[in-house]
């Protein structure tokens, strides 16, 4: 009787169109999920071939029937009911009748059996715009709430959870140092080499130092650090807070009277804002070391390189790049926390939040960078 027993049980269907227009089907054998698959197709094909509104099933030779077999009988009944026909089942064994009674009748107008409705282009465009608006709205709300919480933290520094800030600073800053240094070093090395080749043709290879120094200090150092942080820490914040949201830990905090933004977001944002400029310094430093290796291979000495750098980099450039990195840190950490707190529910939602945190983090880094470029330009920096 067990479906696991050998040899594999079988079932068959014998259909016959009677003279009075009634389709008679005899179901024989062992109806389980495997045998029913072919019976389902056979019986539906018979119904396609002989469109009739009365079907009689001879069930007397059903040896075994589980849920799948009952689904077959129900499926036939539903199909005939939709076509205003009737299904009669004759001599159903009592064990199968038991199963039928247990499952009851599925109503013919059950929505799922009608198939899914396709949404029109207009509808999906509308939904997408609405989602975008809601997204912008929640971003503005979050920025407001976070700014308020940060202002409070500045006014009452003792209320900030400095222990959490320290732990986060270690994760975001200290632990990120090797990757930031490596990427910075490679950036300097590659940029140096690639620019040295054409510049050497014009005998201008000393200016590799100028090019590298200015672009790294003003732009690329802060930018590359922010991008690494968005991928490394922004996503981690989103995943961490997202899991907390899914596990109702955020709700638990709220009911204890601890608001998630001051309690969870502020320490992370403060730690990231403090660490990003430091990491930027290291990224720029290692990029310049990468450039030094290129310059030395071109035959210049360390002194010449440092001299060239000093002549081109003004204090304003250093300060500009540095201030920008504070803003990048704020954006990356803020977006990470926001996406985490917006997580809906379920394991996949946590993944989506992490992805969104990185994507919106990168977009906002670009936007902020653009804003700073305009400000610096108008200030003449």
């Amino acid at each position: 009787m067990s479906p696991a027993s050998y040899p594999r049980p079988s079932a068959s269907l014998h259909a016959e169109l009677l003279a009075n227009g009634v389709l008679s089907m005899a179901v024989v054998g062992h109806l389980d999920a495997h045998t029913t698959a072919s019976l389902w197709r056979d019986s539906m094909r018979e119904l396609d071939r002989h469109p009739t509104n009365k079907v009689v099933i001879d069930a007397s030779q059903i040896a075994y029937c589980d849920g799948a077999g009952i689904a077959l009988l129900q499926g036939l009944r539903l199909r005939l009911a939709n076509a205003r026909g009737t299904l009669e089942i004759h001599s159903l064994p009592s064990s199968v009748q038991h199963m039928m009674d247990l499952y009851g009748e599925v109503l013919p107008n059950t929505s799922i059996l009608k198939g899914t409705e396709r949404t029109s282009l207009v509808e999906s465009t509308g939904r997408a715009s609405l989602n975008l608006m809601q997204d912008v709205h929640s971003l503005i709300t979050f920025i407001g709430a976070l700014s308020y919480a940060l202002l409070l933290a500045i006014r009452h520094p003792s209320r900030v959870k400095w222990k959490d800030v320290g732990l986060t600073a270690e994760l975001v800053g200290v632990n990120a140092l090797p990757i930031v240094a490596l990427i910075g070093f490679l950036l300097g090395l590659i940029m140096g080499f690639q620019s040295a080749i054409p510049m050497r043709r014009f005998g201008a290879d000393l200016y590799v130092a100028h090019l590298l120094g200015l672009s790294v200090i003003r732009e690329l150092g802060p930018l590359i650090t922010a991008i690494i942080l968005a991928g490394r820490s922004g996503s981690a914040f989103a995943a961490e807070l997202g899991s907390m949201k899914v596990n109702e830990e955020i709700d638990a905090l709220r009911t204890m009277g601890l608001e998630p933004i001051p309690f969870l977001a502020v320490p992370r944002v403060v730690a990231t804002v403090l660490m990003t400029p430091l990491l930027t310094v290291f990224a720029s430093l290692f990029a310049l070391i990468g450039g030094l290796i290129v310059m030395q291979s071109l035959g210049f000495t360390l002194m010449t390189y440092v001299d060239a750098l000093q002549s081109v980099i003004r204090p304003g450039d250093l300060l500009g790049g540095w201030i920008k990195s504070f803003a990048f840190g704020l954006v990356v950490a803020g977006i990470g926390c926001m996406r985490g707190l917006q997580t809906k529910s379920g394991a996949s939602a946590v993944g989506q939040s992490a992805t969104k945190a990185v994507v919106s983090g990168l977009i906002l880094i670009a936007v902020v960078d653009g804003i700073f470029a305009i400000i610096y330009y108008s200030l003449g920096l």
Binding site: S2, P3, A4, D32, A33, H34, T36, A37, W40, R41, M44, D66, G67, A68, I70, A71, L72, Q74, G75, L78, H98, M99, L102, Y103, G104, V106, T110, S111, I112, L113, K344, S345, G346, A347, S348, A349
Partner: protein, 254 residues
Amino acid sequence: MQEAVIEVEHLTAVYDDALILNDISCEVYRGEIFGILGGSGSGKSTLLKHMIGLYTPAAGRILIDGQDLIKAEGDARNRILKGIGVTYQQGALFGSLTLLENVRLPLEEFTNLPPDALDLLALMKLKLVGLETSSQKMPSELSGGMRKRAAIARAMALDPQIMFLDEPSAGLDPITAAELDDLILRLARSLRMTFVIVTHELASIYAIVDRVIMLDKRSKSIMAIGPPAELRDHATDAWVRQFFHREAASEASG
């Protein structure tokens, strides 16, 4: 003569050098509702997880329909696994799928039924647990009790012969818990399905469970095994009687 579907032979379980179960032997008969009882930390869930092959025994073996699940491989293992259904304490529904899709998933993976048949069969299973009107909802939109019932519907998708339920009625209101008990009883009696249930609910135990095994937290072995009413009235172990009576007393007064 009762036919044993699960045979636990001298099972010893060790977790991180700590002894969890010590030399447990018992049998579960076809069509019965078998309860696993014991205080917190007595190894109830560990015994259940050994029965379904999630954990490998440190010593001893477990036979399901005469076959050792741990030693079985490939097709043979899949056949045994298809014959058992399991629900977990938290439901373990897939959060990104609707209820219907949750129930449909095992059917889709292990049978070649056409799509409408899959939908209908999944819907029938949901109807069995009273959730046919919630078939398009996501697990996150459901109450805890509904999630547990949905998990039972999913575990039953492939018409298993044996069902393992880890605290099915914990956290349910008494009416829903009674409905769940009723469902389990109907399935066991009319379909001859075998149930192994980890539970704390004395009401359920007296209402539906045929035999219980009681695990001892201190000795890590079997404290008592038998029909619950018999253990309550005639157990030789004072602690077992006390367990049943004290809880029964608090239940009556509460």
